[in-house]
Symmetry: none
Subunit: 218 residues, 2 copies
DNA sequence: CGCGCGACTGCATAATCATGTGATACCGCG
DNA sequence: CGCGGTATCACATGATTATGCAGTCGCGCG
């Protein structure tokens, strides 16, 4: 029974493909199952080679890396796919993360960091080159600034405890679960929830959760 | 002309505040400009102390860390704010990144990594604990998979009727109201909702609504 | 001091949700 | 044809939610 991490590489630049292959093949705990210059056969490749991690070049002839990523995720969603790119363009980053990328690294990433990234993605992380991570955070919609925004009225009106409890509602906690989580009685939970409803002008949990999520109240 | 990174800490746990303070104060290239247990005076603190980096605890009495973050960003957007938390909850992560967080670390992050994070954020990166980075990527709406979709299972898997009914749940409709609205019996509504729960792997209305809104299923 | 507020608690009750079991009709597909 | 899936419906039961009423305690404020 093989316990090493099976890595598959898609990279059209021959030099980089060679050096990545060497790096992976020579790294303890990793095994290189394949290295290709394009991902036109990605579906069959993946089915045949059963990789745990795919290093996917974004720019390749034929099918681009994002499409390759999509196909992998469509057919084998548990495979971790780390995107590799020369550039840091926003639209590429956005496209890749929306397609389900598990990590995103610049090609110039030093070898040690690349190996680290592989083990990180295997452990459930999402390795990103710092500049990419920054871009990822900046892709999020910015909430309106706080000061006296009318929108934040509802939020500012909730007490800290009420906000905590609303958060747990959003997570799908029942009254009983909230009580257990916060170490209070279920009747206390009810009281807080009743108050939340009044402040948010809602009459049910679903309305409260919906409003909270839509207005970023929690 | 001082060239060290000025760090301001907001952390209400006295032990952690003390150890963070010691860490920062003792690190070459960093200087600790303040450490407080709450961020009620964040605006004046920041104006007075002129930090480059703020380490901000998410949970604090009075004004919570996300609100503190918002105020910093509203008044001094160039200050880098790294959020600290015990937990990894999705809504917190989402709230923080929408409020403009520059990084997000778990409190249990080892000291060496924390120092690294500070220099990383200064260099334009966005330091994130691996698990948080994973969550950040997962916060993005998933694009429709390419033609032979399997990835969009949850979304594509709901029938038209189920999707209609989920939409009404999100609007806060009760079973009875849905039945009236669609001209069907309440037991029919129940059957559909049961099926929706199975497909979405949830067990309550609030979970379904939450999931629907977060993943753009409706 | 009284007041308002937040956090906490209890009890009773009605309404609503969630689950299981069962069923029919219709459609498309191999 | 049988099968699976969708839409529809009913009944019974237990669990959970929502509401009303009542209360205590601590805090800050005029």
């Amino acid at each position: 029974m093989e316990t090493s991490t099976r890595v598959l590489i898609y990279e059209d630049n021959p030099d980089l493909q060679a050096s990545l292959s060497q790096l992976i093949a020579g790294a303890p705990g990793l095994s290189l199952v394949g290295a290709f210059g394009n991902c036109t056969q990605v579906t069959t490749d993946v089915a045949r080679l059963q990789p745990h991690v795919v290093l996917m070049d974004i720019d390749m002839p034929g099918i681009n890396g994002i499409e390759g990523l999509r196909r992998i995720k469509a057919n084998a969603p548990t495979i971790n796919v780390v995107m590799l790119t020369v550039f840091e363009e926003n639209d590429r980053v956005f496209g890749a993360v929306c397609a389900g990328a598990d990590g995103y690294l610049l090609k110039k990433t030093p070898p040690a960091r690349l190996l680290e990234a592989i083990s990180e993605v295997r452990a459930g992380g999402a390795p990103m080159t710092p500049a990419i991570a920054r871009q990822v955070l900046q892709l999020f919609p910015k909430a309106p600034a706080s000061p006296s925004a009318g929108n934040d009225e509802s939020a500012a009106n909730l007490s800290a405890r009420e906000r905590e409890i609303l958060r747990l509602l959003v997570e799908g906690y029942s009254y009983k679960m909230i009580a257990a989580d916060r170490g209070i009685s279920i009747d206390t939970v009810r009281s807080h929830i009743k108050k939340i409803y009044e402040k948010l002008h809602v009459r049910s949990m679903t309305e409260a959760v919906s409003k909270a999520l839509r207005q970023g109240l929690t």
